[in-house]
């Protein structure tokens, strides 16, 4: 068996008295796209932080390609696409400046960009189709373009793993499709992708597998299985059955409730 890209073993995290992760375990193979589903407060952000090594777990361990997160970070393998609300969009940086930040790990003391760095940035911008917007201030992009700019940063970095926090919040349908296609391409190039999302609609097209999180990993499997209403109900409570579900799932659910009527 090959080494998993991400291995989370029995990780427990407390914030003071509050239990954020309770012996959560997760193993993700290389070049897979995995959707992380859970309510607010289910520990999605905490799990990200543990994988990036920003929080030391109280118990359990995390391995990235068999190495410690610290080593993986040093090698520049971990790319991160922040949630929109965590970014200061007024910050006086151009799209190119932001993408160049992906190269800092490869650069010297003062991070003076080399020819190779510039080439990598141009290539990444081209890949996410933002070349013509390279000199725009980052706040002057649309929701989807903003996300792509940060994905480009990960590409320029040469990340073998990308963590995306709510990439579809504030993104229109067309951009969502563009981002989905882009992530699929990256995965086929060998990049492992973990996405935390509320957007259950996008999951089946996007993800190879899905994880249901509620402080611990309740379920891990193919998205069409994990997304079945009775499974979602475990993580979200019952009201989720009436909203936020893909068409097909709602149909399933109707069938399900009809069956219940008959019985």
């Amino acid at each position: 068996m090959s080494t998993p890209a991400i291995l989370v073993e029995n990780v427990t995290v407390h914030y003071g008295e509050v239990l954020a992760l309770d012996a959560a375990s997760l193993s993700l193979d290389t070049a897979r796209i995995c959707g992380l589903i859970g309510m607010n407060g289910s520990g999605k952000s905490t799990l990200f932080k543990v994988i990036m090594g920003m929080i030391k777990p109280d118990a359990g361990r995390v391995l990235i390609h068999g190495q410690s997160p610290a080593k993986a970070r040093k090698e520049g393998g971990i790319g991160y696409v922040p949630q929109s609300e965590d970014v200061d969009w007024q910050f006086p940086l151009s799209v190119r400046d932001v993408v160049m930040m992906g190269r800092y790990g490869h650069q010297g003391f003062t991070r003076r960009p080399s020819k190779a760095d510039r080439a990598a940035v141009d290539l990444a911008l081209d890949r996410v189709e933002l070349s013509e917007f390279a000199n725009r201030q980052i706040g002057q992009l649309s929701g989807g373009q903003k996300k792509r700019a940060f994905v480009a940063r990960g590409i320029a970095q040469g990340a073998t793993m990308m963590l995306l926090d709510e990439p579809f919040a504030g993104v229109d349908k067309r951009s969502e499709a563009t981002i989905t296609r882009l992530l699929r391409e990256l995965a086929s190039d060998g990049c492992t992708i973990l996405i935390s999302t509320h957007d259950l609609h996008a999951l089946p097209q996007l993800c190879d597998e899905a994880v249901l999180l509620m402080r611990k990993v309740l379920m891990h499997g193919p998205p069409e299985v994990v997304l079945q209403p009775e499974h979602l109900a475990m993580a979200f409570g019952l009201d989720v059955l009436n909203r936020d579900l893909p068409e097909q799932e709602t149909a399933n659910q109707r069938r399900l409730s009809k069956q219940q009527d008959w019985s």
């Binding site: 990036m52 090594g53 920003m54 610290a70 970070r73 040093k74 090698e75 520049g76 971990i78 790319g79 991160y80 922040p82 965590d86 970014v87 200061d88 910050f91 006086p92 940086l93 151009s94 400046d97 932001v98 930040m101 992906g102 800092y104 790990g105 003391f109 003062t110 991070r111 201030q137 940063r153 970095q157």
Partner: protein, 291 residues
């Protein structure tokens, strides 16, 4: 008296020359640092650290150590105390900052009141621009150049820290260390600016130039040029004004910076209240003419 004389006359006094050099240097270093402070939202922190260094400076004076050392130690104490109060009680950060820096500042005032000194320590509080001695000038020069060099060499890391500390962490840098570096430089810069405008007004030099530049451009690299240039020009203009109007020099420097900020706030073509409207009207006119 023509313009030439207006410019040259004050320069015939050595103390004016020293004042201008010190101020311009402090203005440049403070302005460069201020670019990060205003973007991270550390203005209050700048206020806090620049006040909290006072007891350190006084103690350093008493034992004959370099001012910068005392200032650094107390900047560190202030930041630690703020963190402790915030994290271990229900008091919020702004209150924690307010409590810590005013208490330390008061401690400094008490120390001054019991310290017999030849040089008036009150000058630390309000600055003593016109009384800058040669050793003062050298100290400011050395500290200023060191702080400036570090800021410029590490500017990209500091900007990354200000913009996205999580990414900094993800690529193996230490946001904690970068934050500490910025705080250390803040303490160092405070000492540089103490000489010129004094503890009370340092914060103006640490905020206004960055804020002014931020209203003028969408590029951080340009902010790093605009802020020090505007700040240096304002400071020198302030000294000349204080010379001819016979007003307090440190205060005049800050006042000039404030006036320039106000003008930019109103008339900046990108962000200004009136400037953006004028630009819109011009565009409309152009469109109307084209039609």
């Amino acid at each position: 008296m023509d313009l030439f004389d207006i410019v040259l006359e004050p320069l015939s006094y050595d103390f004016m020359v020293r004042a201008i050099i010190t101020t311009a240097l402090a203005a440049v270093v403070c302005a460069v640092l201020s670019c990060w402070l205003v973007l991270i939202g550390w203005s209050l922190m700048g206020d806090a650290v620049s006040h909290a260094v006072l007891p350190g400076v006084v103690l350093a004076y008493i034992v004959g150590a370099p001012f910068a050392l005392g200032a650094l130690v107390f900047a560190l104490i202030a930041v630690t105390l703020i963190g402790v109060v915030r994290n271990t009680s229900r008091v919020k950060e702004d209150a924690a900052i307010g409590i810590v820096f005013t208490s330390l500042f008061a401690l400094g005032l008490v120390l001054i009141s019991v310290t017999p000194s030849q040089t008036d320590l009150n000058h630390i509080i309000f600055g003593n621009l016109l009384g800058v001695s040669i050793p003062d000038l050298i100290q400011v020069l050395v500290l200023g150049v060191v702080a400036f060099a570090i800021l410029i060499l590490k500017r990209r890391d500091l900007t990354l820290y200000a913009f996205d500390p999580v990414h900094a962490h993800a690529i193996g840098l230490s946001p904690k260390r970068l934050g500490a570096l910025l705080l250390g430089l803040l303490a160092l810069t405070s000492v540089v600016a103490l000489q010129t405008v004094g503890v009370v007004l340092v914060v103006a030099m640490l905020i206004i130039p960055g804020a002014t530049a931020y209203l003028l451009t969408d590029r951080f690299s340009r902010m790093l040029v605009i802020a020090p240039v505007v700040s240096a020009v304002c400071s020198i203009a302030g000294i000349y004004l204080s010379y001819y109007l016979d007003t307090a020099s440190g205060a005049m420097v800050v006042l000039t910076q404030g006036v320039v900020f106000a003008a930019v706030y109103l008339f900046s073509p990108r962000q200004g209240l009136i400037g953006t409207r004028l630009a819109k009207a011009r565009r409309r006119k152009a469109v109307a003419l084209a039609v």
